[in-house]
Symmetry: C2
Subunit: 241 residues, 2 copies
């Protein structure tokens, strides 16, 4: 694929991808490292091409930089603060790669939540490294990428709040209450009282207990549950007509 | 304010505003008519300027075309299909006003929901008329504006579903169940069974009956209610920790 940013009608519009990866314990985010000095950490992102949709662009850019595909990317929103490019390292980088390094770049952010164990990213293009980093231990990212991650995290929490289904997709078909609690703790970034958590989920009757327990664990084997999708679809629409 | 689209770093990025207005019975959307031939209906929208944030741009453009201000605009998402400009009338219009009429324009859509009675739009700039149109009776709008309205409507329904508070903001402090039902019917675009509607809202205990009834109405006076915000805040977080 050839790219010609000079003739591009939208030379200063980019896409950035916030890929959250849950590893069973922590919430991570996919970070690339740019080839520059000691390296600069950033979200996978790049300029759009004239002939592609925004969705296609996000998928292409994610694939080019990290090798990942088959991730359902949802658009978060556009970020376009005129001051979003002010860090000296970013300005220097742009001087090397852009015709108009001082132009405000508008970026369309995308996000996704995946089970980290199913994806093995590989750095390519201008990414010299790609890795999962715990989202609550991120250092300073390029441009306004920390702001974008925060906004995506806010949206992720809202999604999980209004649609627990999103969370259950990250767990195995059968899971323990402990595994479920870990997921909520990872996204919310705080511990949750165990009894309170169990009580809420069990009274909501969203979980079906299975006739099966953990095996070969060093602690008291826990009961397995599965998510009651049918009941969920019913109570989900409780306030709807 | 002077505008120079030629030197603009983002010459093909615009904002468009979907302002929903509830009039007590119907859901409307604010539409401008462009000065062109027999007139072309469109959402209020225009190109962004280099030195303004996207939010500021949406507020400025809405004000310039309709005279409306003090409306809380929330970003919906960006739309950037390379084919979003293909209607002949749009192409002709762009030939008159743009340097590169064939360029794909990326637009950042904003939306809001207001009580129509509180706002009196006045056409200005390239709008020769501005009016509220029932959202379910819209004709063909410019560009992909029908798609944008549909997406905003979808988001509005989700908001109302997960946060009825948004709806109550559109009603008077004290209201009848009939008024509340009209609001839901207007947004959902279908009639709702009266008994079912009342039962759901009354069992949810979100409404406080007042010691007051309608006066001077030709039918049996209905009971007034008010929204129980405190209780709402409690049950809203039922599944949250």
């Amino acid at each position: 694929m050839t790219r010609n940013t000079v003739n591009n009608f939208n030379p200063h519009v980019s896409v950035d991808c916030v890929i959250f990866g849950f590893d069973g314990v922590r919430l991570n985010v996919l970070i690339i490292e740019r080839e520059q000095g000691g390296g600069v950490s950033a979200l996978p992102g790049d300029l759009i091409l004239d002939d592609e949709t925004l969705d296609d662009s996000a998928n292409r850019v994610l694939y080019e930089l990290t090798g990942l595909s088959d991730i359902y990317l949802k658009q978060l929103q556009a970020f376009g603060d005129p001051d979003r490019i002010k860090d000296l390292r970013d300005v220097q980088w742009l001087r090397n790669v852009r015709e108009e390094p001082s132009a405000r770049v508008i970026t369309i952010a995308y996000y996704s939540l995946v089970n980290l164990q199913n994806f093995s990213p590989k750095a390519a293009s201008f990414a010299r490294d790609v890795r999962w980093e715990p989202v609550y231990e991120l250092g300073e990212l390029a441009f306004d990428h920390n702001v974008i991650v925060d906004k995506a995290l806010e949206q992720l929490r809202l999604n999980l709040k209004y649609d627990p289904l999103i969370g259950f997709e990250l767990l195995p078909e059968k899971f323990t209450l402990r595994q479920l609690q870990k997921l909520y703790e990872a996204v919310l970034n705080h511990t949750i009282d165990k009894r309170n958590f169990r009580k809420k989920f069990l009274t909501a009757k969203l979980l079906k207990p299975l006739n099966e327990k953990e095996q070969g664990v060093p602690h008291k084997p826990a009961q397995y549950y599965e998510f009651d999708r049918k009941r969920y679809m019913r109570i989900k629409d409780k306030f709807w007509f």
